[in-house]
């Protein structure tokens, strides 16, 4: 699978000739309806809906037990929901493994980054998706084209404006923020439709956390919509275009961070405030 | 607990007690044999001899061993199990002459007669008796032979030993040097002795491949080595390999100890010049006889009984008593 280097179509631009009505609402890239998942007596997802639009950064927030991680696992192929449907670019999909989701162009940046610390940045970037030498050597012996992988690695980092002197450094020698950068770059390089990030700034200090937020913005600029799961409200409010609030196994509301306060959002998340009490201009359905 | 269950258990216990008393009257002597390992042909022969003697004398033989040479814990466990199974006499070839002593003392305190075979314990008085090869004497015989064979030529000796601190290894090594004529060595000498003619001494663990490596390195140190003492016949076979690779097999005399059938065949083939043959079967036989005697009369044996060692060579020399390989093959152990 060859990594892409950005789409040619800028996100969100309405095609010429459509009526003004339908061009107001951007297309959903990833959509889910009525997802249900139970574990014995515990209902993790109780008919959850989900919608990710083109070119946006969507934050998914929710208290523990709200079904946040179960939702993300279903979307990324890590588990199969009992009921409900998932649509990618309008077509129904049924992922049976993370591998299948990846093949459909959905990449995930895991909370613990899933990198091999002793291996180099280049090796981690292409882990499991190495570029082989052309011809017989590559196909049969699976001989690596190290020069090409290095070139591509440099290009990816530059396109995301991540400054790293040498791609041959071991990932464990990098700072926390740089390591996150490598994991984000890997997802952005191979994703074709969606990038999911699980707690991207959780383990980082203030300065590095801000650097990662900047990086996420650049991923969006490349035309890839991003789903972010986060507990960090200030970061969520700084970066998200919309916020999906998960509560009690359902989508409680989707709000516009520019039109609602952080405390109200937290209140909806914890149940202190009812979704019906949200002023209409704050909603972002 | 319900009364009926309690009653049944009490009756069962009483019944078992009566039965065991009954069987105690019917006293088939039970003798235990614990060897260092199960697999070494030396001990296989010992076990064979013990079984033959037991069958002949109407005794029951229990057998056990450690897993490897040096496995003391395995021997301790076997000792304890045999005492619990009612053995009145236990024969043991100790893997670790010091570490086995506490377990032996416990057994003797319970009235069991313990006889060491082949290797002594430290202290020797820890057991009732020792039936063994005089390993020092085994060394002396091949030392005397080597002296006669080298007949006044200047010698450079390599000794391929067992491993540090092992009494059997020290006894054979020292015996060899004493028999060869090095002064100041007796069977009481506790350390491995040295001599000016010995240009190289290395450990082999009694293993053929390690014997080969040791010989190669010794030859590298001094290519003029013309006499090699080896702790046992596998080490000798390894030494021969090294000499052959260096083209020196015809110029160097190898002597060894053990008298296993494979080793005697090597003497016959000219690979080993002479070997001291020892008799594990005899050790076991004497041990079982002593055990049966103790069970029947309550009389223990004591002290050290030399089970004999014979010099085996096809190239007999004047002044040195020896027997040929035909005798050796008729009396050897192993296959």
């Amino acid at each position: 699978m060859q990594p892409n280097l950005g789409q040619t179509q800028p996100a969100g631009a309405p095609p010429v000739g459509r009526s003004r009505e339908t061009s107001l609402k951007p297309r959903p890239v990833l959509e889910a309806r009525g997802l249900v998942k139970t574990y014995g007596h515990v209902t993790a997802l109780d008919g959850t809906d989900f919608e990710l639009r083109e070119g946006e950064i969507l934050a998914v927030i929710g208290d523990n037990g709200a079904g946040k991680s179960t939702l993300i696992k279903a979307l990324s192929g890590a588990l199969i929901p009992d009921k409900g449907e998932i649509f990618l670019d309008g077509k129904p999909v049924h992922f049976r493994s993370p591998h299948e989701a990846r093949q459909h162009g959905i990449e995930t940046v895991y909370q613990d980054l899933a990198v091999a610390p002793a291996m180099t940045i280049t090796e981690n970037l292409f882990l499991g998706r190495e570029i082989f030498r052309p011809g017989f050597l590559g196909r049969f012996f699976r001989l690596l084209d190290k020069k090409k992988m290095l070139e591509e690695a440099v290009r990816h980092m530059q396109s995301l404006k991540i400054g790293l002197r040498s791609m041959s450094q071991a990932v464990e020698d990098l700072s926390g923020g740089q390591r996150q950068g490598v994991a984000v770059a890997r997802s952005a390089a191979f994703a074709r439709h969606v990038v999911i990030m699980d707690e991207p700034t959780a383990a980082l200090g203030v300065k590095e956390g801000n650097m990662v937020l900047e990086l996420i913005r650049r991923v969006r600029e490349r035309g890839l919509p991003v789903i972010i799961i986060s507990h960090n409200m200030p970061h969520v409010f700084e970066i998200a275009d919309r916020i999906h609030i998960q509560r009690l196994g359902k989508r409680a509301a989707v709000v516009n961070p520019h039109k609602i306060s952080m405390s109200d959002t937290v209140a909806i998340m914890t149940g202190a405030m009812e979704p019906k009490d949200i002023p209409p201009e704050a909603l972002a359905h | 607990m319900r009364k009926s269950v309690l009653l049944a258990l009490a009756l069962a216990a009483l019944g078992t007690l009566l039965l065991s008393l009954g069987s105690a009257q019917n006293k088939q002597p039970i003798i235990g044999l614990i060897t260092k390992t199960e697999s070494n042909p030396f001990f296989v022969k010992m076990k064979e001899g013990a079984q033959q003697a037991a069958t002949r004398l109407g005794a029951k033989l229990l057998s056990g061993a450690g897993k490897t040479d040096g496995d003391n814990a395995g021997q301790v466990a076997a000792l304890e199990n045999m005492v619990a199974a009612g053995a009145q006499t236990i024969l043991i070839t100790p893997s670790d002459s010091k570490a086995i002593v506490p377990a032996i003392q416990k057994a003797r305190a319970a009235g069991v007669m313990v006889i060491a075979l082949d290797s002594p314990t430290e202290p020797a008085s820890a057991v009732d008796a020792l039936f063994a090869t005089n390993n020092y004497q085994a060394g002396v015989l091949i030392g005397q032979y080597a002296k006669a064979a080298m007949a006044g030529k200047p010698v450079k000796i390599a000794t391929l030993d067992l491993f540090p601190g092992q009494p059997v290894g020290i006894a054979r090594h020292n015996g060899f040097l004493a028999g060869f004529g090095v002064a100041g060595i007796t069977d009481k000498t506790a350390q491995q002795a040295t001599a000016p003619q010995v240009v190289c001494s290395q450990d082999t663990f009694g293993d053929q491949a390690k014997g080969q490596t040791a010989m190669e390195n010794c030859l590298q140190k001094d290519p003029g080595i013309n006499l090699v003492y080896t702790i046992n016949e596998p080490a000798a076979a390894g030494a021969y390999q090294a000499l052959k690779a260096a083209g020196k097999e015809k110029d160097v005399l190898i002597v060894s100890v053990d008298g296993g059938c494979a080793g005697v065949r090597n003497v016959k083939a000219g690979i080993i010049g002479a070997t001291s043959q020892q008799y594990p079967l005899k050790m076991a036989e004497l041990g079982v006889e002593a055990g049966v005697n103790y069970a029947k009369t309550g009389k223990k044996v004591s002290g050290y009984t030399d089970t004999g060692v014979t010099l085996i060579t096809d190239k007999a020399l004047p002044g040195v008593n020896s027997k040929d390989t035909a005798f050796g093959l008729a009396n050897c152990w192993g296959q």
């Binding site: 591998h99 899933a114 882990l127 450094q169 | 293993d207 490596t213 390195n217």
Partner: protein, 326 residues
């Protein structure tokens, strides 16, 4: 995301070869210098050829052990499986009268099957490698003793002794087996560093969860690793037979620790994911050099054991220190 100044200095230190790579090499050079001074019979072609011969069996065994340790596992069954292979090889050729090549293939097949067994127990039943190989080590040992009836096999056909043949290079006699050992090391080194399966092996050892998430078939990688290790134990068995000219049922009893020593001395981490297979070759040679050198200088065997122990501690310490620096 801009470059931080601390990364620059890290890079400067990082340009120096790490202590774990440099360490064994320096130790070897120092040992060679020391022994050359102590004995004038040390520094010679024939003596070095001898050392390589003495090292070649453990050397090839240690290739398998290195692969296993790189995945974060360990193999205690090393020497005992090899011994079983040699008994099969020699007895099939001498007693069953099989064509020598077929006998050799049977021996190697048996050791490879044991490797496969180790791999299956570890990947399917999910037992820890230490426990599994402890069990298979005992099974292999018992099978060897039972099958051989503790008898050494002699009178072997020429093909079984093939690797003991020699040729002359300059004034020095070189054994075929030594050449095979070096070729195998170079081959394995190449596969580990230049092919995807090789890099996957490192990834599985370094972070198995990450490897799995990235779509690497971790169970298959582990299964293959143990099976291939078993294959190398069979080849080492053939080398042992060539060197000693016998099938010895008591062989292989100390090799599991000797291979681990070589791997550790060569700078590979026992935790997996780090190390170079060529380091293991250096580690094995270091042990051989000390054994040979100490004999030449007349030092008792027990000091060889002492020095090996000290070297192992130094090697592991150097590994830890180099990690803390980075």
């Amino acid at each position: 995301m801009s470059e931080q100044p601390s990364v620059k200095t890290k890079n400067l230190l990082g340009r120096l070869p790490s202590l774990t790579v440099l360490g064994p090499f320096v130790a070897l050079i120092l040992a060679i210098i020391f022994f050359s001074v102590q004995s004038d019979r040390f520094l010679s072609g024939p003596n070095f050829s001898l050392i390589l011969q003495q090292v070649m069996v453990v050397g090839v065994l240690a290739i398998g052990q290195t692969l296993v340790i790189l995945t974060g596992g360990i193999d205690l069954s090393v020497g005992f499986v090899m011994a079983l292979g040699t008994m099969v090889m020699t007895k099939f050729a001498v007693e069953l009268g099989l064509p020598p090549l077929l006998a050799v293939l049977c021996g190697v097949a048996v050791t490879t099957a044991f490797g496969l067994l180790n791999g299956l127990l570890i990947t399917r039943i999910k037992l820890p490698p230490f426990i599994v190989t402890l069990g298979t080590m005992n099974i292999a040992f018992a099978l060897t003793q039972i099958y051989s009836k503790a008898q050494t096999v002699t009178g072997l056909p020429d093909l079984l002794l093939f690797w003991g043949n020699t040729f002359k290079l300059g004034g020095t006699v070189i054994t075929y087996g030594v050449v095979l050992m070096i070729v195998l090391y170079l081959l394995v080194w190449f596969v580990l560093s230049e092919t995807a399966p090789g890099r996957h092996l490192y990834a599985v050892g370094n972070n198995p969860e990450a490897a799995r998430l990235m779509g690497i078939p971790t169970r298959r990688v582990l299964l293959l690793t143990y099976t291939i290790a078993g294959f190398f134990y069979g080849i080492a068995g053939w080398l042992l037979v060539s060197r000693t000219s016998v099938g010895d049922p008591n062989a292989g009893q100390t090799e599991n620790l000797e291979t681990i020593t070589a791997v550790v001395l060569g700078g590979t981490s026992l935790f997996g994911g780090r190390g170079m297979v060529l380091g293991t070759l250096l580690g094995a040679i270091i042990v051989g050099v000390f054994r040979n050198g100490l004999t030449l200088t007349g030092v008792s065997s027990v000091y060889q054991v002492l020095i090996t122990g000290i070297l192992v501690i130094l090697a592991v310490t150097a590994d830890q220190l180099s990690k803390r620096r980075g």
